[in-house]
């Protein structure tokens, strides 16, 4: 039987970070709890925060379940994480600047050339282009799991357009509204500085041609996108326009936004659409979402695009293995955060090991996301395992495997009261003139007993994440 680290209880003892929640939990009558839970749901419903779940059928505007039991970090715990995350965000950006430039890390033999240059996410169209401040990934979402008091692992990096930050902000908002006394009794670091920090970050990477206050906009694929709520929410908070492809056009080396007062020059685009759909003249010619000529404007320095096209090559699962190497190579530092040991099925020996130990391992598709196309060995039937065996044998390059991690649990409200459930954490690191991290993040929780899959697209829920002030 695997031992899981419980972040609140050490045997019968309450761990220090959670001491402020023990009484709250014990003293809350179940009727009050049910009432508060209903209230929280009504609040989420009212503000319209929903998450469309692909491939599961049912209600596309389903609410993502919110668990009222906060997840807590102490200041020293957080500081350690913060240093590690910032280090990683810097290394990932240095890597991107390098592989679209001279490729020193490949020349030095630290990363195989094939993995970089033959990667589908490697964007030849931007090689040689240096974005403002040399930054490619302006919002880095680092997915972390915890297995012990001092043991964290990075599961994956998200260098393109990590979503979910609206939940971090809304979860806090709702907790403060429902349990104001908790925020009086505990000194909790605020997260509401995120939108200002994001705006500052985006403005700080305006192109050199921009004189004066940069105009920033969020580019969304539209209301049918599962994260549309987040796009409009962030635009509101930052006080910037939310635009779609047809709202923009390129002329005279700049990108313009159609407004009722005539065209307005746009300096920074925070895009929430994929590279392939940005510009039909450069990428997919059939794209209706994009802006013709945008990549020419971008590459001639007329507008900034965040994250920069091509940033995806840094968060590919095959590249992930090399992030600690990037930290050493570019920063000359030892990585503060550990990777999960990973077997590449593309390698013969690794593949053999994986096939022999399928029932112990988690197997993932190299390019998959959202918890789909994944095998959790210990939680799978013989048939599911055999099924996966064939898939791996047919196309080994497509798979990587990792040990099944003993994900930490935090107390979570369930039908019967309070019970431990597995959690992960996604903090959002901003990279611009400064590298910043709001103290908090999105904690996702696997609501099903024993489940290790926390993805919101697989029925996971979310929690407010606290960092205690000293």
């Amino acid at each position: 039987m695997t031992e899981y680290f419980n972040e609140m209880f050490d045997g019968g003892q309450v761990r220090q970070p959670y001491s402020g929640l023990d009484g709250w939990m014990r003293e809350m009558p179940s009727e009050l709890r049910a009432m508060k839970q209903a209230e929280a749901e009504a609040l989420f419903r009212r503000i319209g925060i929903t998450f469309a779940v692909y491939g599961e059928g049912g209600d596309p505007d389903r609410l993502i379940p919110f668990d009222m039991f906060p997840r807590v970090f102490t200041q020293p715990e957080w500081r350690k994480l913060e240093r590690g995350i910032k280090q990683r965000a810097r290394a990932l950006n240095a890597f991107l600047l390098d592989v679209y430039g001279r490729g020193e890390i490949v020349r030095a033999g630290r990363i195989p050339a094939r993995l970089v240059y033959q990667n589908d996410a490697y964007e030849r169209a931007v090689s040689g282009f240096i974005p403002p401040r040399g930054i490619y990934s302006h919002i880095v979402g680092v997915d972390l799991v915890r297995t012990g008091p001092d043991q964290f692992y990075v599961l994956e990096d998200n260098c393109r357009t990590p979503s979910g930050v609206s939940y971090m902000l809304e979860n806090r908002e709702i907790m403060m509204r429902m349990f104001p006394q908790l925020f009086r009794e505990n000194r909790i670091e605020p997260v509401d500085g995120y939108s200002d920090a994001l705006r500052r970050t985006l403005a700080s990477v305006a192109p050199a041609k921009c004189d004066g206050e940069p105009t920033v906009a969020i580019l969304t694929p539209g209301h049918f996108n599962s994260a549309y709520y987040e796009h409009s929410f962030l635009a509101d908070l930052m006080g910037v326009e939310l635009v779609e492809g047809p709202d923009l056009f390129c002329e005279g080396g700049f990108c313009w936004m159609r407004t009722t007062e005539g065209p307005k020059k746009l300096d920074v685009i925070y895009r929430r659409i994929d590279d392939a759909f940005l510009d039909p003249l450069c990428f997919r010619p059939d794209s209706m979402l994009g802006i013709p000529g945008l990549m020419d404007v971008y590459r001639s320095g007329g507008v900034s695009i965040c994250s920069a096209p091509g940033a995806g090559v840094a968060d590919d699962k095959a590249i992930y293995t090399f992030v600690p190497e990037m930290v050493r190579f570019y920063l000359g530092e030892e990585p503060l955060l550990e990777n999960v040991p990973t077997w590449q099925c593309a390698k013969k020996d690794d593949c053999k090991y994986v096939l022999e130990n399928l029932s112990e391992l988690v197997v993932k598709e190299v390019h998959g996301s959202g918890g789909y196309g994944m095998l959790v060995g210990p939680k799978s039937t013989k048939e599911q395992i055999e099924n996966f065996r064939h898939k791996i044998e047919d196309n080994p390059e497509n798979y990587i495997a990792q040990p099944t991690l003993a994900l930490s649990t935090t107390p979570t409200f369930v039908e019967e009261g309070v019970a431990p459930r597995h959690v992960d954490l996604r903090p959002y690191c901003l990279v611009g003139e400064k590298v910043e991290l709001v103290p908090g993040g999105l904690t996702r929780v696997a609501l099903t007993e024993g489940s290790l899959v926390v993805n919101s697209s697989q029925g996971g829920g979310v929690k407010d994440t606290w960092v205690l002030a000293e």
Partner: protein
Amino acid sequence: MILTVNHVTTYDYDAPMGAAVQSLRMFPSRFEGQRVIEWDVSVEGGLRGGSFRDGAGDRIEGWSIRPPVDEVAITVKGQVETFDTSGVLRGHRELVHPMAYLRETVATWIDDSLAALAEEAVAGATEDLNRAHRLSAAISEAIAYKPGATHSHTTAAEALAQGEGVCQDHAHALVAVARCVDLPARYVSGYLFATDDGTPHEAAHAWGEIWVAGIGWIGFDPANKCCPDERYIRLGSGLDAREAAPIRGITQGSGEERLHVTVALDQVQQ
């Protein structure tokens, strides 16, 4: 050789259209094989946009025309001095790693026939340069030059199955088979001066380049069974014809489009 180029591309529309936006890759590459004496690209009634050189060394320039648009006319006029470098792209500044040119595209998708042709062509050859020459010769052999036999969306595999095609098909097939044997390869667009004997075809031309370690990028023109020499002017490259196209553009609206192209290359007698 000093060559003059007069190249006019016109898109006519049968109804007034919305805005037109173009991305032009119509500037001679900078390498030892050519020196620009003068060169001018213009779009009638258009506004010049951003201009830059990409990582592959190509100069790209954006243009736009405000609505209503009923015609888009792109004119290229220039004079270039060319030199024979035996097909080698010497002195060309670029940054893209050759391995980025091993990727397949829809137009260069490798089917069993292309793979078989590649394998047979290089059998016994160990040197990359030799393998590249053999592949080019094999494509010349397998696809006969026949204008009108294929269209702009014909893939390498389709052209091979048909056994005939134009320079675009030859170039697609060549880059496909080269990648198939792990040689980085790319599609090149440019111009070709037709000498009096009339052998070379198509003044607006396309060929392939194959990366040979130790030498660099080398051009191969299977359509004319040779390597590019002083009769060629190189404009730009890409994974396939779509990426390397001298003109990529979009005109908004639903009007019928008619394309008209004239290309004249002349030699300046010295």
